[in-house]
């Protein structure tokens, strides 16, 4: 097994100590930090796959996110030292929609997406539709993520998608909705492209979109 494979395996086994130790070892051996971060993108995709198969639960991906965050923090100074920047796999604008101030799910999604290599613009909670529209204009993201926990959010998601349409920006972005209460009905009602109850599955869907676009 290559060091890369062993590294990814330790993340998927949620072996925090081992994963951090391998990352440290790789950095000390002078390995390109970008290679280490690239492995995190692969790991994030595999975590999503494990969630879809029912092998991983929310608790697992929170822990995996925590481990990957730790690794990123370890790698970042080295990256800076070398004057390198991580290649961004895609750009995500994300926020909890208007009327809802819950952020647990959204924050897990931000951690996972950043670990996977996305540039994430986090608009916070209770984000009105016009703020999503402004952010799309300003940052030109590939993907817009909307989160909500309470049912008020359903209306807000629809309003936000409508506002994005009205601004003529709908074709420029893929829209994914997430949160405890969203489902296929919510997706259809809001007019989103995908829905998920899990950050890991969400990241996997987003990585798929990015790959499709690259083709």
């Amino acid at each position: 097994m290559s060091v890369s494979e062993e590294f990814i395996k330790s993340i998927l086994e949620l072996d925090e100590r081992k994963a951090l130790e391998i990352a440290r070892r790789r950095l000390e051996a002078g390995e390109d930090p970008l290679k280490i971060l690239g492995d995190l993108t692969i790991a994030a995709d595999k975590i999503g796959e494990k969630y879809e198969k029912g092998e991983f639960f929310i608790a697992d991906l929170v822990m995996a996110g925590e481990i990957m965050k730790g690794i990123s923090e370890l790698v970042r100074p080295k990256l800076k030292e070398l004057g390198k920047v991580r290649e961004v796999v895609g750009k995500l604008v994300i926020g909890t929609v208007q009327g809802d101030i819950h952020d647990i799910g959204k924050n897990i999604a931000v951690t996972m997406a950043e670990a996977a290599g996305f540039e994430v613009i986090d608009l916070g909670v209770d984000v009105p539709p016009e703020k999503f529209v402004e952010a799309i204009k300003q940052y030109n993201p590939n993907i817009v993520g909307m989160s909500c926990l309470i049912t008020v959010g359903l209306e807000s998601m629809k309003k936000t998608v409508d506002a994005i349409k009205e601004a003529g920006l709908r074709d420029r972005v893929k829209i994914i909705i997430g949160g405890g209460r969203v489902d296929e009905y919510a997706k259809e009602y809001a007019g989103a492209d995908a829905w998920t109850n899990s950050a890991a599955e969400g990241v996997r869907i987003m990585l798929k979109w990015i790959r499709e676009k690259a083709r």
Binding site: F57, I58, M63, G99, T151, V152, E155, Y185, Y189
Partner: protein
């Protein structure tokens, strides 16, 4: 005349008879028998649509008890069902745990913080319409927070009640920081509690007049959820489970006793409600080691006292369904959010009464025809043999629900639900 109108008229004209029918229908269902018709229970914390229907705001509901809670009465008057389940405040069980000597706190609000109490106590757990949230938002929001560090498990385990009272409360409630302020705040809370009890009594009487069963309720909690919601915050809790499982387990051991003590304070309680939170987030191995043993102990202890137990299984509980078979037959009501009730029925038939099955979002996005079809199929698949209560998966009837859709749901249950 449509079935729904017929029932509206009957609950107005002969509430005693309708009440008897409803009680009989519900108790037969819990006992896993086939009642005359599948019962329908609608729920909300509060049901946003009910507020819209009555023309009251979220602020009114949480702050102006009589006026706000009357919205529930109007709702069940115009949209008849078999029982309504609603909560009048946001989770405040940490107080009930800290002051078990004051059972009024549980009786009045089932451990919940109402708007005025939020203003008095200045807690950091919740946000209310008309305060931190716009007036127009129908639902107050519980956020929880991190009020305990991972290094403090030892103190929690050593003396949980004292640790919560002396260390957590001052951190989580602005008004409970110093002694003098605390005294004033708690006296004011007491006055507020008696107002809430009076309003609750008045609403209960209105509901009875429409033939709705009303009974005193107490609350219980699963220890892991308590730590996650009130002490450590959900995300930190999930990480603790991996990093320091032994400490989490030891904390659960001691919290079970405190939680049961809280639940037993309401001496005349008939029902007990246990809202689960982290259940779906845990892999089976963790669920079986840290979550289920304590939840099971809570349920069995409450069952021993003869209480009717309602457990809300948040999210998808399918990976853990089999564990319920370890409980005695007809132990209570398992209210499922996203669990496929067809699957639940296959596993739990003849053992556990199932509640849920109707996707809340369909009330907003569907059409009356789609809803009728959905209910018809659901009843055909899940109702035979009894032990099934139709309900929405989550405690809300969304603001955007169309009147026609809600009427279609009720009418379809009345039409296809006959056994």
């Amino acid at each position: 005349m449509k079935l729904i109108e017929e029932l509206m008229e009957r609950q107005r004209k002969e509430p005693e008879i309708v009440l008897k029918e409803r009680l009989d229908r519900l108790s037969k269902t819990i006992e896993l028998k086939e009642p005359d018709r599948v019962p329908l229970i609608l729920t909300g914390c509060p049901p946003a649509f009910a507020l819209k229907h009555a023309g009251v705001s979220g602020y009114d509901f949480y702050y102006d008890y009589e006026r706000g809670w009357k919205a529930i009465v109007k709702f069940v008057e115009d949209y008849p069902m078999d029982s309504i389940f609603f909560e009048v405040g946001l989770e405040g069980h940490v107080l009930a745990l800290a002051f078990p000597e004051v059972p009024e706190f549980m009786i009045a609000t089932a451990g919940h913080i109402t708007g005025p109490m939020h203003d008095i106590l200045r807690d950091k757990y919740t946000k209310f319409p008309g305060r931190e949230l716009p007036l127009t938002i129908p639902t107050g929001q519980f956020l929880g927070g991190r009020f305990m560090e991972a290094e403090e498990y030892g103190k929690l385990i050593e003396n949980p009640a004292e640790f919560i009272r002396e260390t957590i409360l001052p951190r989580a409630f602005e008004s409970l920081k110093d002694v003098h302020q605390s005294r004033i705040a708690l006296i004011k809370t007491g006055i507020e509690l008696s107002k809430a009890i009076n309003s609750m009594t008045s609403i209960a009487s209105d509901l009875t007049k429409l033939g709705y069963p009303v009974a005193p309720l107490t609350d219980a909690y699963c220890p892991v959820d308590f730590i996650a919601d009130f002490l450590r915050h959900v995300t930190n809790m999930l990480i603790d489970i991996y990093r320091i499982p032994d400490k989490v387990k030891a904390a659960c051991e001691v919290l079970v006793e405190l939680i049961l003590n809280m639940a037993f304070q309401v001496k005349n309680a008939v029902h007990v409600f246990i809202p689960l939170h982290l259940n779906e987030m845990l892999p089976p191995k963790t669920y079986n080691e840290l979550y289920w043993p304590y939840l099971k102990k809570v349920i069995l202890s409450l069952k021993e006292k003869g209480l009717t137990i309602w457990v809300f299984f948040e999210g998808n509980h399918e990976p853990h369904l089999e564990t319920l078979l370890e409980l005695p037959k007809s132990w209570g009501i398992a209210w499922f959010e996203k669990t496929d009730v067809r699957k639940a029925k296959r596993v739990l038939e003849g053992h556990t009464c199932i509640m849920g099955g109707f996707p809340t979002n369909l009330l907003v996005s569907g059409t009356p025809e789609k809803i009728e079809e959905y209910v018809k199929n659901l009843i055909k698949d899940v109702a035979p043999g009894g032990g099934f209560i139709i309900s929405t998966g989550v405690a809300d009837i969304p603001w955007g629900t169309s009147e026609a859709n809600l009427r279609a749901l009720i009418n379809a249950v009345l039409k296809y639900g006959q056994h």
